[in-house]
Structure formats: C-alpha cells, structure tokens
Amino acid sequence: MSLLRDMPTLVVAVPLLIGALLLLGLRFWGRSAPWLALIGPLVAVAVGAASLQGGSSGSVRWLAAGDSALTLGYQVDGLSAIMLLVVGVVAACVIVFSIGYMHGDRGFVRYFAILSLFTAAMSGLVIAADLVGIFIGWELVGACSFLLIGFWYEKPAAAEAARKAFMVTRVGDAAMLVGLAILWRATGTLELSAILGSVGSLAPAVVTTAAICLLFGAVGKSAQFPLHIWLPDAMEGPTPVSALIHAATMVAAGVFLIARTWPLFEASPEARMVALVLGTITALGAATVALPQTDIKKVLAYSTISQLGFMFAALGVGAWPVAIFHLVTHAAFKALLFLTSGSVIHGSGTQDLREMGGLRRTMPLTAVAWIIGGLALAGIPPLAGFFSKDEVVGSVLVAAPWAGVALLVASLLTGAYVARATRLAFFGARRGTHEAHESPWTMTVPLAVLSICALGLGFAGPSIAAVLGAESEPLSLGLAALAVGLASAGALGGWLLAADGGAREGAFRPSVAAVWSTARDGYHFDSLVNAGLVRPVTALSRFTDSVLDRGAIDGIAEGLAKLARAAGGLLTRTMNGDGQNYSALVAAGAIVLLCVTIWLVR
C-alpha cells in the first residue's frame, strides 16, 4: 500500500499507457480491450484508498525560462483521495457496463481507449498540485469528452453536439486561463500551496477577479447557467459515457476546482455570491426543464445540471465540504441512473419515455436499480441523496434564505420529475413495440455496485467531512422532515402527472401546454444564444472572411502578384526576338546616357 501512496502518479501513467496501447492496436485487442482498460480505474481506487489517511506530494520544474519556471507536481490529500475513489469506482462500473452496452460496435476498442485516456486525464486533474496540472487535466478531459460525445461521428447530431460541448466549455476555459494569468502575475507562481498561502497579501480586487475567472471555468465545465447548453446535447454520446463524464466526474470537476482553490473564494465574498446566484438559478431552472422532457436521458441531463447547481449554491455559502459530499453521493446515484437508463435503452430499444411503459415486468433488476437511484436523487431517507442534499439545503438556508427556499422548490421538482420518469418508463402498460429484455450480467453487476453506493454512501457523510478536515453538520430534524415532505409531495405530483402513460400531459389546457412546451425547450435559451451570440459571431466571421481576409489581405497579396505579372508582360513584349528592336533599345539607351553625361558635365 505504501507504494501506491508514494507513487500516486501511477494513476495517470497506467491508464495513459493502456489507452495508448489500445489506440495502437485498434484491430488487435478485440474483446480484451475493456479488461485492459479496467486496470486504470482500479489503480485509481487503490491509490485513493491508500491515500485517504494522508498521501504524498512531489514536483518537477518544467518550462524553465530564466528565473521563472512552471512547476508540475502532484499532491494527494483527502480531497484528491475522495475524488480518485469516485473517479475509479464510477469508471470501473462504466467500463464493465460498457462491455455489454457497446457489444458489437465498430469502435469497440477505440471506445475503451478513450475511456482509459479519460481516466488518466481526470486522475491527473485531481492529483495536480498546481494550476498548470489542473489546467492540463481540465483540457484533456474536455478533449476526451469531445471524442466520446462525438463517438458515433457518422451521426450529424453527435458531431454537432461534440463541437457544441467543446466550444461552450472553451468559453469557460478561456476565462480560467485568464484567471491563471492573473494569479501568475500577482504571485509569480501557479503552485496551489504558494498561491493559496499568499491570498492574504493580495489586493482584494485581484483575488476577486481571479476567483470569478476560475469560477467561470468551473461554470463552463459543470454546465451551470448560462453555459449549461452543451450538457443536454452531450447526451448524443453513448449512455455509459454520459454516466461517467457528464454526470459523475468531469462535470463535477468545476466543483472540485473551487473546492481546491477554496481560500481564494473564502477571501472573495463577491465571487461566492456569483456562485450562489448562478447555482440557485441553475438548480431551480434546470429542475423545471427536467420535468417535461420526453427523452429519458434529457431528464437525467437536466437533473445533473440541477444537482450541480445545488453544489454551486453550497459552494456559494462557503460549505465546500458539503458540496463535495453531495458531489460524491450524486456521482453514485446519477451514474447509477444513467447506467440504468442505458440498460433501459439497450433492453427496450428506445430512449423516448412515451414509448416505454411497464418495463418493470421485463427488466426487474434494472427497475429496482432505477428506483434506488431515483429515491436517492429525490432525497428520500435513508438513501445517499437525502443526507447530502439535506446538508446542502440546510447550509444554504442558514446563509441565504431566499436561495434556500429556491433549493427547496427545486427539491420538490426533483421528486416530481423522478417520479414522472419512473412511472412512464417502468409502470403502466407497455407502449413500445420492441421486445424488451433484461440486460446481461456485465450490465447488471455495475448497477448493483452503484446501487449499494447509492444506498449506503449517505452514512459516509461524517467520514468524508473528516477526511476533508471539516466538521460534519448535524442533521436538522425539522428541515429534514420539510425536505422529505416536499420531495414526497413532488413525487406524488409527478406520479399522478404520468398516469395513463403521459396521456394527461397531452390534455393540458392551452395556457398550461404553452408553459409546458416552453420549459421542455429549456425556455428557448438555446435559440436565444443562437440568435444573440452564435449568429452575430458567424456573420462577423463571414464578414472578416469575405471582406477582410479575402478582400483586403488576399487582395493586397494577389494585387502585388498581378502587378508583377503585368510588368513582366509589358517587358515580355520587348523581348520579341527582333534584333533590330534590341538595337533600337540599345541606341535609345545610349542616347539617354549621352544626354545625361552632357547635362552632368555642363
């Protein structure tokens, strides 16, 4: 164990090497690829477990230029260890699950290669001891996310979604890079310990600007309002990928980043306020959008955005250990829900809730797993989500009552959309025509593992807080009762809403139906961004392309070429091979020289 504790860089090196090997032998590995790819996450779990009681750190000088150099190092503490465990467990479950889910896919080996690379990048992100390492991991997980969303690149929607995810998160990444530059200028280093140690000596304006820049990087990565638009589209990727990257790990990297750089945020109430406001808006808004979705994965996508909003709200009021606790439990139950939806899609051949129904009879294990995940998400005791969400709501309610109330409403909606999706998919009469079947054991075993996590992780709250070096907040019974009551009421509402396979939703009064479909479209935020941002930028690009680039710059270059050619053409005409013509020119030249000479000696 001490080897694992002292060499945490293995969590990067092993999956990176395996990913490279898999990529080199795309046709060679065949069915052994997933078992090879499984090694990386297992190393992450082992290192994480070995480092829970304190890890190691080290660094090398990198890119030295004169006196200044970037250091690249690792630093495994409680936070890293917890993240490594989360990444490792979820990635392992996802890889095993994918054996069945991706069976027979043309890109089978490529899929596991990228998953392995993702594991390497994500592990690198969480063990990095400086912002350089975090940023490198940050960009690499983004690249892997791009590759996996667009995994079925022949599908135009998938390619488009991959591009969109990449571009939108890039907005946040640009802000983060600016934040890094500000910190570098202010402190001359990007080492976390050095920066965080010198926060007190920096000007408050610098701290706030840097913190807000980092926050926006996190907002992009964690799909918070207003950069949330990429996550629903990212559902075009294979479902296990959504479970790993777009529910459990990568999107949680934003929360991790803020927790990692916490002293910056602690020193900047403004940045915390921005996080609180954005988190609350996101938590409530995404919950309302999740309710009317008809695509089972879109329900989960908006639910993920909403739950990440909960975490940001918790960060905003200073309760970062609570946010991490919710991150851990959310990773378990949301990965479970996503994998279950993958199992549903695999077994029923559709991801449209309206074409499902009654699946509990043909897919009993999947149904049980889904219900466990759903109850955990809704925050019903004693499942994981109850404890963490209760702590989040509790800490927010104390610090900012308005946000706390908004989160309680979001909890109510959470219960509603989970219950609705559950009834539509698993209860009632079978509506689809596809012959549904239970999934193979490689798919149900990971569901079982994650179900156990979703059932039991809630009780790990105090230990997680202890590992993070924070006090665990005692559960407030009154608030817990209120939250459970609201969630149950929401669940009841959602359950009734989904009666008769959603027929009730079709029979809304026009005014309600209008609100319903507006919410389903995410309040048209996408078209708003398209009209307000994408189209003007596209028009500007076209303008610079046609007028500035082709017109002015190419015009100058090509104009010079044309001038030279024209001059050459003129001179060519004198070179016609007529000797007398040449003689005439020589004579003319001589006469000119003669005249010049005469004029000069005059």
Binding site: N576, G577, D578, G579, Q580, S583, A584, A587
Partner: protein, 96 residues
C-alpha cells in the same frame, strides 16, 4: 566638313540603316558604316593628343577585327540565304 562631323554623320547614317532596313545585307553594311565612323572619330581625337601611338594602334587592331567580323557575318549570311531567310524579321527565332 570637319572629320568630327563626318564621323558623327557616318555613325548616324549607319544607325539609321541598322534600325530601318530589313535586308540583312543592308544591316551588315550599316554596321560597317558605323564602325567606320567610330574609327574616324578615334583617329581624329588621337591626332590632338601627344601619345597618339596608342590610339592609332587601337585603330589598326579594330580594322583587323572589323575584317574578321565581316567574315563571320558573311558566313552567317550565307547560312541564312541557304535557308532562304534574308530578312531580319524572318530570323526572330535563333534556335535550331
């Protein structure tokens, strides 16, 4: 008429012939006339200089060169006549 004026006149006549005539024989003759004018100018100037022997030597050498040039020119002329090309605008392509 002074020798200087005569030299200039000869060069001018030769240049005029060189540029205007299309007949190769006439062009060659014009070149000879120009050379004659140049020689005359050289000899005339050398008469007023104390060390005239150098200029006169050059004049003699140029005379010999002119003879050689005429031989080469006429040989080319014969070759062109064999190909039935006796006008300057027929020999714009000097290849092959």
């Amino acid at each position: 008429m002074t020798p200087l004026a005569l030299g200039c006149l000869l060069i001018s006549i030769g240049l005029y012939g060189l540029l205007t005539r299309r007949d190769i024989v006439a062009v060659l003759a014009s070149i000879e006339v120009m050379l004659g004018g140049a020689q005359l100018l050289l000899a005339t100037y050398s008469a007023g200089v104390t060390q005239a022997s150098a200029a006169q030597g050059i004049t003699v050498i140029v005379l010999a060169t002119v003879g050689a040039e005429a031989a080469v020119g006429l040989a080319l002329l014969v070759a062109l006549v064999r190909r039935n090309r006796t006008r300057t605008d027929q020999i714009e392509e000097v290849r092959g």
